[in-house]
Amino acid sequence: MRKVVMPGNETIAHAAIAAGCRFYAGYPITPSSELAAEMSKLLPKVGGKFIQMEDEIASMAAAIGASVAGMKAMTATSGPGFSLKQEHIGLACMMEVPVVIVNVMRGGPSTGLPTHPAQGDVMQARWGTHGDHPIIALAPAFPTEIYMETIRAFNLAERFRNPVILLIDEILAHTYEVVEIPEPGEITLEERKLPPSGLNRLDFYTYNRREGDPPLLPNFFQGYNFHFESLAHDEMGFPTTDPEKVAYLARLREAKIEKHREEIWKNEEYLLEDAELVIFAYGSVARAAKEAVNRLRAEGAKVGLFRPITLWPFPEIPLKKAVGARKVLVAEMNLGQMVYEVERVLRRDVATLFKADGTPISPVEFVEKIRGEL
């Protein structure tokens, strides 16, 4: 373990390299640019490839291409670029291609507030592309966690053959903090499962599988002359409009995430045991919340924090279990997004603290809000 002072953008880059990422395609955009800059430095040194493409659409495409050719691949962007990548995020879901997409959230909508933080893209991470599709989205909050969650993002992407979205915000991206970097031996890497060589392609029906399993697909150039398809396809990957086949693969795509959601879910429960009020917050907002919990605890107020690290699939069961019938305060750096899910899952009203003016919610704001609620 080494301690290094780095901003979140660089942390992600270093973690990606450690996770085995060897391809990055991107297009510059504030506040994610330093991530690309760092990758452009690190990748050639390990024989990897960095390319600045002509736009975000092409970047997403190139990353998918490299992944299909066998590389762990990633791209990073911010709001406007994230919108542009949506079509190809759906493609990666459809083709079941592993890829990691980092979205460093800034104030929106549109060009918005490029140098200010926000959490306005969390629903977009789930619903931004057309059509039903499975997605995983992670939202780390602390420097070392950013490092570890980046690695987990690659692991999940490779394991489930699905795009994984890593969400941070401008504060986390730009604040230099102490990162505890584990030694290579201390981290577990998931390597892509490939069909053994020499099988008869027509036999092994690669998209076919037990419900809940990810598919076992070959890489390009592995000898299977495999077909990756953006149309609805059959179990061999070829286009079909047969409703049964269409439904079959759609179900398999959902099931691989759905059935493993307990493993994918990750959250922090902070001083929840005796809490009378539970804050629901994620990302940098959760840090202010945690600070506020400490301050309120010092005053004797029984407050705790539920901090989802996995945003999607939404942690329905852990949330329900963690909060029970207690008061809930949902805090977000937006006009209310994850609160929809919280209300839906808890089936009741919650208190809210939203802010979307380019400035973070401070611990003081939390303290005042909670004093009013208790």
């Binding site: 002072v5 140098t115 730009h174 230099y176």
Partner: protein, 179 residues
């Protein structure tokens, strides 16, 4: 050195690369030599380059939750414009260090104000204006007690670009002697 539980610093300047570096070095050094937690965040902006800029440093005994300054204990500024622009959330009793040539008179009994000709000293006495970052760091270390002279003498040569070790060591020592 008094025990640090939580300490917030701000450095501001025009143009500012040097002063941003001072903040970065400070954060790195306290992590390295004191086992404290530290963060620093330069101001990002899509606006004027070469205009007022700043860096905030937060130091804490424990992992830092809220990564922003809210009550600044120490504020160093090397230009009038930047000093005014970022004069926010400064705590009562805070230490304020101003470049005596570049910042106008500022007298407020709520603060402990020091006036030092930082840039002039770097340029003329040390001989290279880029050492203003080390100089400011040293002044800060001394005034706050966050780092000792010995620690900086160890840290600085490893941190600065090759070939600049000596003048920066000079800056460290001068900084400690100025206040």
């Amino acid at each position: 050195m008094k025990e640090i539980i939580h300490y917030e610093l701000r450095f501001s300047a025009i143009g500012g690369q040097g002063i941003i570096t001072a903040g970065a070095m400070l954060a790195e050094a306290v992590v390295q030599y004191k086992g404290l937690y530290a963060i620093h965040s330069p101001r990002y902006t899509a606006q004027v380059r070469g205009g007022p800029t700043k860096v905030d440093v937060v130091i804490d005994k424990n992992p830092i939750y809220f990564p922003k300054t809210t009550d600044v204990d120490y504020y160093l500024a090397t230009s009038e414009k930047s000093f005014r622009t970022y004069f926010q959330d400064i705590k009562e009793g805070a230490i304020i260090v101003l470049d005596s040539n570049l910042v106008e008179e500022f007298n407020d009994p709520k603060y402990r104000v020091y006036r030092i000709p930082l840039i002039e000293t770097a340029a003329k006495e040390i001989g290279n204006v880029v050492t203003v970052s080390t100089l400011s760091l040293a002044v800060t270390a001394k005034l706050t007690g966050l780092l000792s002279l010995e620690e900086l003498e160890d840290f600085i040569p490893k941190r600065v670009p090759k070939g600049y070790e000596d003048i920066n060591l000079k800056a460290v020592r001068l900084g400690f002697s100025l206040v």
